[in-house]
Symmetry: C2
Amino acid sequence: MNKYVNILKEHEIKVTPQRLEIMKYLDEHREHPNVDKIYSALKKKNPSLSKTTIYNTLETLREHNIIQALTISGNELRYDFKNSVHHHFLCKECGQIFDIDVECPNLNKMLKDEYRVDEVHGYFKGECKACREKEEKRKK
Amino acid sequence: MNKYVNILKEHEIKVTPQRLEIMKYLDEHREHPNVDKIYSALKKKNPSLSKTTIYNTLETLREHNIIQALTISGNELRYDFKNSVHHHFLCKECGQIFDIDVECPNLNKMLKDEYRVDEVHGYFKGECKACREKEEKRKK
DNA sequence: TTAGATGCAAAGTGTTTGCAGCCTG
DNA sequence: CAGGCTGCAAACACTTTGCATCTAA
């Protein structure tokens, strides 16, 4: 838990139990949860937790570049503890978002001149292996 | 206008004036408009036009792969007439979305095995040239 | 002590749904 | 003529705002 205390202190923002719990949850649950998932998970431990706090905290952490918000799924934001640069794959069948580690070297190079690039996202949509296999079985 | 009639007929869906207007608008306005922009533009010509029709039509066109929906901006969907595969750059300053033509060859290759990839999106966030120049001027 | 964080309720915004009437094929 | 499309109003879902209370530093 000290890990998260340190991150907050480095960024000079207040250390609160709620913030620590949210960071810990995101760090330990890499399935890119939405606000509701985080909320209902942490509500169990701390019944007075408010959804507003989740929103506030996620926004604060995002501003400080500790986490990132994924817009991949269209109707809701998904959150991601920002350890490394990686891309994402959304399975249209099961809704899960998977991390993809692919580098695209000729990308940044071309952009640099015209644009100042702060974030590079790649995302893919389709069907994941598990869902494809399930589908195969159904057909048999 | 015949162009759009043909596209609809090829996909065996009904040809209606509303659909034609929406397609024409998207084809001629490549700034990736949101629903409201399309709605208010076309409402002028056809005051009885409903926003529901915009949503229905965009969804239908999307299902038929004629247009695509961009989730890049988080709080709303942006639409794009689907002529070619390309990526997008969102300027955080002015909100505009620009088309970017960069290929990433080693991408699909890696994905093929694990996933069935239907859509490949790349998007970048930052600041566009015009906004950067505006900012420079303000500083002087 | 005090600036900032929390949490409740209410408002806001973009999208979806239900349904009656209309139009394309 | 029939099934699909349109458009209105109401419902929804996710997020933001206003504000009183509480807490970390």
